[in-house]
Symmetry: C2
Subunit: 200 residues, 2 copies
Protein backbone atom coordinates (compact mmCIF):
# COMPACT_ATOMS: atom_id res chain seq x y z
CA UNK A 1 0.00 0.00 0.00
CA UNK A 2 1.03 3.60 -0.62
CA UNK A 3 2.92 5.24 2.25
CA UNK A 4 1.34 7.84 4.49
CA UNK A 5 1.61 11.18 2.79
CA UNK A 6 -0.76 13.47 4.63
CA UNK A 7 1.59 16.43 4.10
CA UNK A 8 0.42 16.42 0.48
CA UNK A 9 -3.05 17.44 1.69
CA UNK A 10 -3.47 20.93 3.09
CA UNK A 11 -2.77 19.89 6.66
CA UNK A 12 -1.36 22.12 9.36
CA UNK A 13 0.32 19.13 11.02
CA UNK A 14 1.97 15.95 9.70
CA UNK A 15 0.74 12.49 10.69
CA UNK A 16 3.09 12.11 13.67
CA UNK A 17 1.95 15.41 15.07
CA UNK A 18 -1.70 14.53 14.55
CA UNK A 19 -1.16 11.19 16.28
CA UNK A 20 0.42 12.98 19.25
CA UNK A 21 -2.58 15.30 19.55
CA UNK A 22 -4.98 12.37 19.39
CA UNK A 23 -3.13 10.46 22.09
CA UNK A 24 -3.44 13.53 24.30
CA UNK A 25 -7.15 14.12 23.78
CA UNK A 26 -8.67 10.65 23.28
CA UNK A 27 -9.06 7.55 25.43
CA UNK A 28 -6.80 4.64 24.42
CA UNK A 29 -9.85 2.73 23.23
CA UNK A 30 -10.99 5.48 20.87
CA UNK A 31 -7.48 6.28 19.65
CA UNK A 32 -6.91 2.66 18.65
CA UNK A 33 -10.28 2.56 16.92
CA UNK A 34 -9.33 5.64 14.86
CA UNK A 35 -6.04 4.08 13.76
CA UNK A 36 -7.84 0.89 12.72
CA UNK A 37 -10.42 2.88 10.75
CA UNK A 38 -7.61 4.78 9.04
CA UNK A 39 -6.08 1.50 7.89
CA UNK A 40 -9.32 -0.05 6.67
CA UNK A 41 -10.37 3.17 4.95
CA UNK A 42 -7.05 3.31 3.05
CA UNK A 43 -7.55 -0.32 2.07
CA UNK A 44 -11.05 0.31 0.75
CA UNK A 45 -9.84 3.33 -1.26
CA UNK A 46 -7.08 1.18 -2.76
CA UNK A 47 -9.51 -1.62 -3.53
CA UNK A 48 -12.39 0.38 -4.99
CA UNK A 49 -10.57 3.39 -6.40
CA UNK A 50 -10.43 6.48 -4.23
CA UNK A 51 -7.99 9.00 -2.84
CA UNK A 52 -6.00 6.84 -0.40
CA UNK A 53 -4.42 9.73 1.50
CA UNK A 54 -7.66 11.62 2.05
CA UNK A 55 -9.61 8.44 2.90
CA UNK A 56 -6.87 7.59 5.40
CA UNK A 57 -6.64 11.01 7.02
CA UNK A 58 -10.43 11.31 7.32
CA UNK A 59 -10.58 7.78 8.75
CA UNK A 60 -7.93 8.65 11.33
CA UNK A 61 -9.76 11.82 12.36
CA UNK A 62 -13.40 10.74 12.09
CA UNK A 63 -13.88 10.45 15.88
CA UNK A 64 -11.39 13.17 16.81
CA UNK A 65 -14.03 15.19 18.67
CA UNK A 66 -16.20 12.35 20.00
CA UNK A 67 -15.12 12.73 23.62
CA UNK A 68 -15.84 16.45 23.87
CA UNK A 69 -18.58 17.72 26.18
CA UNK A 70 -22.10 18.53 25.04
CA UNK A 71 -21.42 22.11 26.08
CA UNK A 72 -18.40 22.38 23.80
CA UNK A 73 -20.43 21.12 20.82
CA UNK A 74 -23.28 23.53 21.59
CA UNK A 75 -20.80 26.41 21.83
CA UNK A 76 -19.28 25.54 18.44
CA UNK A 77 -22.75 25.31 16.82
CA UNK A 78 -23.57 28.79 18.10
CA UNK A 79 -20.17 30.41 17.55
CA UNK A 80 -19.74 29.09 13.99
CA UNK A 81 -23.37 29.71 13.04
CA UNK A 82 -24.11 26.08 12.11
CA UNK A 83 -27.70 24.94 11.49
CA UNK A 84 -29.39 25.75 14.83
CA UNK A 85 -31.65 22.66 14.61
CA UNK A 86 -28.47 20.72 15.38
CA UNK A 87 -28.97 21.84 18.97
CA UNK A 88 -31.91 19.39 19.20
CA UNK A 89 -29.59 16.41 18.79
CA UNK A 90 -26.70 14.91 20.73
CA UNK A 91 -23.14 13.62 20.63
CA UNK A 92 -24.03 10.84 18.18
CA UNK A 93 -24.78 13.49 15.54
CA UNK A 94 -22.50 16.29 16.75
CA UNK A 95 -19.20 14.42 16.73
CA UNK A 96 -19.39 14.17 12.93
CA UNK A 97 -20.98 17.39 11.69
CA UNK A 98 -19.64 19.61 14.45
CA UNK A 99 -16.51 17.52 14.99
CA UNK A 100 -15.30 18.48 11.50
CA UNK A 101 -15.26 22.12 12.60
CA UNK A 102 -13.18 21.23 15.64
CA UNK A 103 -10.73 19.30 13.43
CA UNK A 104 -10.46 22.33 11.18
CA UNK A 105 -9.88 24.76 14.01
CA UNK A 106 -7.51 22.71 16.14
CA UNK A 107 -5.48 20.86 13.53
CA UNK A 108 -5.54 23.35 10.66
CA UNK A 109 -7.02 20.85 8.21
CA UNK A 110 -8.93 22.77 5.56
CA UNK A 111 -9.36 20.09 2.90
CA UNK A 112 -13.12 19.93 2.35
CA UNK A 113 -13.02 16.35 1.04
CA UNK A 114 -11.50 15.25 4.32
CA UNK A 115 -13.83 17.44 6.40
CA UNK A 116 -16.91 16.24 4.54
CA UNK A 117 -16.05 12.60 5.15
CA UNK A 118 -15.81 13.40 8.87
CA UNK A 119 -19.12 15.30 8.72
CA UNK A 120 -20.91 12.46 6.98
CA UNK A 121 -19.50 9.46 8.78
CA UNK A 122 -22.42 9.11 11.19
CA UNK A 123 -25.42 9.90 9.00
CA UNK A 124 -24.29 9.37 5.42
CA UNK A 125 -25.62 11.52 2.59
CA UNK A 126 -27.14 11.06 -0.83
CA UNK A 127 -24.12 12.63 -2.51
CA UNK A 128 -21.31 10.64 -0.89
CA UNK A 129 -17.87 10.67 -2.49
CA UNK A 130 -15.61 7.62 -2.59
CA UNK A 131 -13.74 9.12 0.36
CA UNK A 132 -16.97 9.52 2.34
CA UNK A 133 -17.96 5.93 1.61
CA UNK A 134 -14.55 4.50 2.58
CA UNK A 135 -14.66 6.20 5.99
CA UNK A 136 -18.33 5.39 6.57
CA UNK A 137 -17.81 1.71 5.84
CA UNK A 138 -14.41 1.39 7.54
CA UNK A 139 -15.90 2.76 10.77
CA UNK A 140 -18.50 0.00 10.65
CA UNK A 141 -16.31 -2.99 9.82
CA UNK A 142 -12.89 -2.29 11.36
CA UNK A 143 -11.43 -5.49 12.85
CA UNK A 144 -12.47 -4.87 16.46
CA UNK A 145 -16.16 -4.39 15.57
CA UNK A 146 -18.37 -7.24 16.71
CA UNK A 147 -22.17 -7.19 16.48
CA UNK A 148 -24.92 -9.32 14.94
CA UNK A 149 -24.60 -8.66 11.23
CA UNK A 150 -20.87 -7.88 11.16
CA UNK A 151 -20.08 -10.80 8.85
CA UNK A 152 -22.72 -9.65 6.38
CA UNK A 153 -21.37 -6.08 6.58
CA UNK A 154 -17.86 -7.31 5.77
CA UNK A 155 -19.16 -9.44 2.91
CA UNK A 156 -20.91 -6.43 1.38
CA UNK A 157 -17.73 -4.38 1.79
CA UNK A 158 -15.91 -6.92 -0.37
CA UNK A 159 -18.62 -6.70 -3.00
CA UNK A 160 -19.07 -2.94 -3.37
CA UNK A 161 -18.94 0.27 -1.35
CA UNK A 162 -22.53 1.13 -2.31
CA UNK A 163 -23.95 -2.13 -0.97
CA UNK A 164 -21.93 -1.76 2.24
CA UNK A 165 -23.22 1.81 2.70
CA UNK A 166 -26.81 0.62 2.16
CA UNK A 167 -26.40 -2.25 4.62
CA UNK A 168 -24.88 0.04 7.24
CA UNK A 169 -27.73 2.55 6.98
CA UNK A 170 -30.30 -0.22 7.18
CA UNK A 171 -28.55 -1.67 10.22
CA UNK A 172 -28.35 1.75 11.90
CA UNK A 173 -32.06 2.43 11.42
CA UNK A 174 -32.97 -1.01 12.71
CA UNK A 175 -30.85 -0.38 15.78
CA UNK A 176 -32.37 3.05 16.48
CA UNK A 177 -35.92 1.78 16.03
CA UNK A 178 -35.34 -1.25 18.26
CA UNK A 179 -34.35 1.22 21.01
CA UNK A 180 -37.39 3.49 20.35
CA UNK A 181 -35.05 6.29 19.37
CA UNK A 182 -35.67 9.24 17.05
CA UNK A 183 -34.01 9.11 13.64
CA UNK A 184 -32.00 12.13 12.46
CA UNK A 185 -33.65 13.40 9.25
CA UNK A 186 -30.47 13.19 7.18
CA UNK A 187 -30.01 9.53 8.17
CA UNK A 188 -33.50 8.80 6.91
CA UNK A 189 -32.83 10.63 3.62
CA UNK A 190 -29.58 8.67 3.20
CA UNK A 191 -31.35 5.39 3.90
CA UNK A 192 -34.09 6.04 1.33
CA UNK A 193 -31.49 6.90 -1.29
CA UNK A 194 -29.00 4.07 -0.75
CA UNK A 195 -31.54 1.32 -0.09
CA UNK A 196 -32.62 1.62 -3.72
CA UNK A 197 -29.04 1.99 -5.05
CA UNK A 198 -27.13 -0.42 -2.86
CA UNK A 199 -28.29 -3.73 -4.31
CA UNK A 200 -28.81 -5.58 -1.06
CA UNK B 1 -72.68 0.86 22.11
CA UNK B 2 -74.32 3.77 20.31
CA UNK B 3 -76.29 2.88 17.18
CA UNK B 4 -75.03 3.64 13.72
CA UNK B 5 -75.97 7.19 12.88
CA UNK B 6 -73.95 8.12 9.85
CA UNK B 7 -76.78 10.25 8.52
CA UNK B 8 -75.86 12.78 11.20
CA UNK B 9 -72.55 13.36 9.41
CA UNK B 10 -72.65 15.17 6.08
CA UNK B 11 -72.94 11.98 4.06
CA UNK B 12 -74.53 11.64 0.65
CA UNK B 13 -75.55 8.05 1.41
CA UNK B 14 -76.70 6.26 4.54
CA UNK B 15 -74.83 3.25 5.96
CA UNK B 16 -76.88 0.64 4.08
CA UNK B 17 -76.25 2.40 0.78
CA UNK B 18 -72.52 2.69 1.53
CA UNK B 19 -72.37 -1.01 2.40
CA UNK B 20 -74.06 -1.85 -0.92
CA UNK B 21 -71.48 0.19 -2.84
CA UNK B 22 -68.61 -1.47 -0.98
CA UNK B 23 -69.93 -4.97 -1.69
CA UNK B 24 -70.01 -4.03 -5.38
CA UNK B 25 -66.47 -2.62 -5.58
CA UNK B 26 -64.43 -4.61 -3.08
CA UNK B 27 -63.40 -8.23 -2.73
CA UNK B 28 -65.16 -10.14 0.06
CA UNK B 29 -61.91 -10.28 1.97
CA UNK B 30 -61.42 -6.52 1.95
CA UNK B 31 -65.09 -5.74 2.58
CA UNK B 32 -65.10 -7.89 5.72
CA UNK B 33 -61.87 -6.28 6.89
CA UNK B 34 -63.49 -2.83 6.53
CA UNK B 35 -66.52 -3.85 8.58
CA UNK B 36 -64.26 -5.25 11.31
CA UNK B 37 -62.22 -2.03 11.39
CA UNK B 38 -65.41 -0.01 11.65
CA UNK B 39 -66.43 -1.98 14.72
CA UNK B 40 -63.04 -1.79 16.45
CA UNK B 41 -62.69 1.90 15.62
CA UNK B 42 -66.09 2.65 17.19
CA UNK B 43 -65.04 0.65 20.25
CA UNK B 44 -61.80 2.60 20.63
CA UNK B 45 -63.65 5.90 20.29
CA UNK B 46 -66.09 4.80 22.99
CA UNK B 47 -63.25 3.64 25.24
CA UNK B 48 -60.86 6.58 24.91
CA UNK B 49 -63.25 9.41 24.14
CA UNK B 50 -63.80 10.28 20.51
CA UNK B 51 -66.55 10.82 17.97
CA UNK B 52 -67.96 7.31 17.64
CA UNK B 53 -69.89 7.97 14.42
CA UNK B 54 -67.00 9.58 12.58
CA UNK B 55 -64.48 7.02 13.86
CA UNK B 56 -66.84 4.29 12.66
CA UNK B 57 -67.56 5.75 9.24
CA UNK B 58 -63.89 6.45 8.57
CA UNK B 59 -63.02 2.92 9.74
CA UNK B 60 -65.62 1.47 7.39
CA UNK B 61 -64.29 3.48 4.45
CA UNK B 62 -60.53 3.48 5.13
CA UNK B 63 -59.77 0.92 2.38
CA UNK B 64 -62.64 1.91 0.07
CA UNK B 65 -60.25 2.67 -2.81
CA UNK B 66 -57.56 0.09 -2.13
CA UNK B 67 -58.44 -2.14 -5.05
CA UNK B 68 -58.37 0.61 -7.70
CA UNK B 69 -55.75 0.53 -10.44
CA UNK B 70 -52.49 2.49 -10.33
CA UNK B 71 -53.72 4.36 -13.39
CA UNK B 72 -56.88 5.51 -11.63
CA UNK B 73 -54.86 6.84 -8.68
CA UNK B 74 -52.44 8.64 -11.00
CA UNK B 75 -55.36 10.21 -12.86
CA UNK B 76 -56.93 11.47 -9.63
CA UNK B 77 -53.59 12.94 -8.46
CA UNK B 78 -53.31 14.87 -11.72
CA UNK B 79 -56.94 15.84 -12.12
CA UNK B 80 -57.37 17.06 -8.55
CA UNK B 81 -53.97 18.77 -8.45
CA UNK B 82 -52.69 16.80 -5.45
CA UNK B 83 -49.00 16.96 -4.49
CA UNK B 84 -47.26 15.70 -7.65
CA UNK B 85 -44.51 13.95 -5.64
CA UNK B 86 -47.26 11.45 -4.77
CA UNK B 87 -46.73 10.05 -8.25
CA UNK B 88 -43.39 8.59 -7.06
CA UNK B 89 -45.19 6.23 -4.69
CA UNK B 90 -47.64 3.37 -5.00
CA UNK B 91 -50.89 1.85 -3.87
CA UNK B 92 -49.70 1.51 -0.28
CA UNK B 93 -49.60 5.31 0.00
CA UNK B 94 -52.25 6.22 -2.57
CA UNK B 95 -55.17 4.27 -1.16
CA UNK B 96 -55.19 6.55 1.90
CA UNK B 97 -54.27 10.02 0.67
CA UNK B 98 -55.82 9.68 -2.78
CA UNK B 99 -58.47 7.23 -1.65
CA UNK B 100 -60.05 9.97 0.49
CA UNK B 101 -60.66 11.97 -2.72
CA UNK B 102 -62.35 8.98 -4.32
CA UNK B 103 -64.56 8.55 -1.24
CA UNK B 104 -65.51 12.21 -1.44
CA UNK B 105 -66.31 12.09 -5.16
CA UNK B 106 -68.14 8.78 -5.30
CA UNK B 107 -69.97 8.74 -1.99
CA UNK B 108 -70.54 12.44 -1.41
CA UNK B 109 -68.82 12.42 1.99
CA UNK B 110 -67.44 15.88 2.64
CA UNK B 111 -66.75 15.66 6.35
CA UNK B 112 -63.05 16.54 6.65
CA UNK B 113 -62.63 14.73 9.96
CA UNK B 114 -63.71 11.51 8.28
CA UNK B 115 -61.66 12.20 5.13
CA UNK B 116 -58.54 13.07 7.14
CA UNK B 117 -58.73 9.81 9.06
CA UNK B 118 -58.84 7.96 5.73
CA UNK B 119 -55.92 10.05 4.40
CA UNK B 120 -53.78 9.37 7.45
CA UNK B 121 -54.57 5.73 8.10
CA UNK B 122 -51.46 4.43 6.30
CA UNK B 123 -48.79 6.96 7.27
CA UNK B 124 -50.06 8.65 10.41
CA UNK B 125 -49.30 12.29 11.12
CA UNK B 126 -47.95 14.43 13.93
CA UNK B 127 -51.29 16.15 14.38
CA UNK B 128 -53.61 13.14 14.60
CA UNK B 129 -57.11 13.59 16.01
CA UNK B 130 -58.79 11.01 18.20
CA UNK B 131 -60.71 9.88 15.09
CA UNK B 132 -57.46 9.46 13.13
CA UNK B 133 -55.92 7.44 15.93
CA UNK B 134 -58.95 5.17 16.31
CA UNK B 135 -58.94 4.25 12.62
CA UNK B 136 -55.14 3.91 12.46
CA UNK B 137 -55.05 1.54 15.42
CA UNK B 138 -58.23 -0.38 14.54
CA UNK B 139 -56.80 -1.18 11.10
CA UNK B 140 -53.78 -2.72 12.81
CA UNK B 141 -55.45 -4.78 15.50
CA UNK B 142 -58.83 -5.84 14.08
CA UNK B 143 -59.64 -9.45 15.10
CA UNK B 144 -58.47 -11.12 11.86
CA UNK B 145 -54.98 -9.54 12.01
CA UNK B 146 -52.25 -12.04 12.84
CA UNK B 147 -48.54 -11.20 12.75
CA UNK B 148 -45.57 -11.32 15.13
CA UNK B 149 -46.26 -8.49 17.57
CA UNK B 150 -50.06 -8.50 17.35
CA UNK B 151 -50.49 -9.32 21.03
CA UNK B 152 -48.25 -6.44 22.02
CA UNK B 153 -50.17 -4.13 19.66
CA UNK B 154 -53.47 -5.12 21.29
CA UNK B 155 -52.01 -4.65 24.77
CA UNK B 156 -50.91 -1.12 23.88
CA UNK B 157 -54.37 -0.42 22.44
CA UNK B 158 -55.84 -1.24 25.84
CA UNK B 159 -53.38 1.08 27.55
CA UNK B 160 -53.63 4.21 25.37
CA UNK B 161 -54.18 5.28 21.77
CA UNK B 162 -50.84 7.15 21.72
CA UNK B 163 -48.82 4.13 22.72
CA UNK B 164 -50.66 1.99 20.15
CA UNK B 165 -49.97 4.56 17.42
CA UNK B 166 -46.27 4.65 18.37
CA UNK B 167 -46.02 0.87 18.36
CA UNK B 168 -47.73 0.61 14.99
CA UNK B 169 -45.39 3.17 13.40
CA UNK B 170 -42.37 1.41 14.87
CA UNK B 171 -43.64 -1.92 13.60
CA UNK B 172 -44.32 -0.49 10.12
CA UNK B 173 -40.83 0.98 9.81
CA UNK B 174 -39.25 -2.26 10.98
CA UNK B 175 -41.25 -4.13 8.37
CA UNK B 176 -40.30 -1.77 5.52
CA UNK B 177 -36.61 -1.80 6.47
CA UNK B 178 -36.53 -5.58 6.74
CA UNK B 179 -37.75 -5.67 3.13
CA UNK B 180 -35.20 -3.04 1.97
CA UNK B 181 -38.05 -0.71 1.08
CA UNK B 182 -38.09 3.06 0.92
CA UNK B 183 -39.92 4.88 3.71
CA UNK B 184 -42.48 7.52 2.79
CA UNK B 185 -41.30 10.83 4.30
CA UNK B 186 -44.52 11.44 6.22
CA UNK B 187 -44.26 8.00 7.85
CA UNK B 188 -40.79 8.87 9.06
CA UNK B 189 -41.98 12.23 10.44
CA UNK B 190 -44.86 10.47 12.21
CA UNK B 191 -42.49 7.88 13.69
CA UNK B 192 -40.09 10.50 15.07
CA UNK B 193 -42.98 12.36 16.66
CA UNK B 194 -44.88 9.48 18.23
CA UNK B 195 -41.89 7.44 19.36
CA UNK B 196 -41.11 10.20 21.86
CA UNK B 197 -44.77 10.72 22.85
CA UNK B 198 -46.10 7.19 22.84
CA UNK B 199 -44.49 5.85 26.02
CA UNK B 200 -43.45 2.46 24.69
Amino acid sequence: MTDFDYDSIKTGLNRDEIIDRMRDTLSDFRFSHCVRVEKVSRGLAAEFGGDIQRAGLAGLLHDYAKERSDQEFADVITKKNLDPTLLNYNNAIWHGVVGAEIVKDELGIYDEDVLNAIRRHTVGATNMTQIDKCVFVADFIEPARDFPGIKEARDYAEKSLDSAVAFELKHSLEHLISKNREIYPETFVSYNYWITKGEL
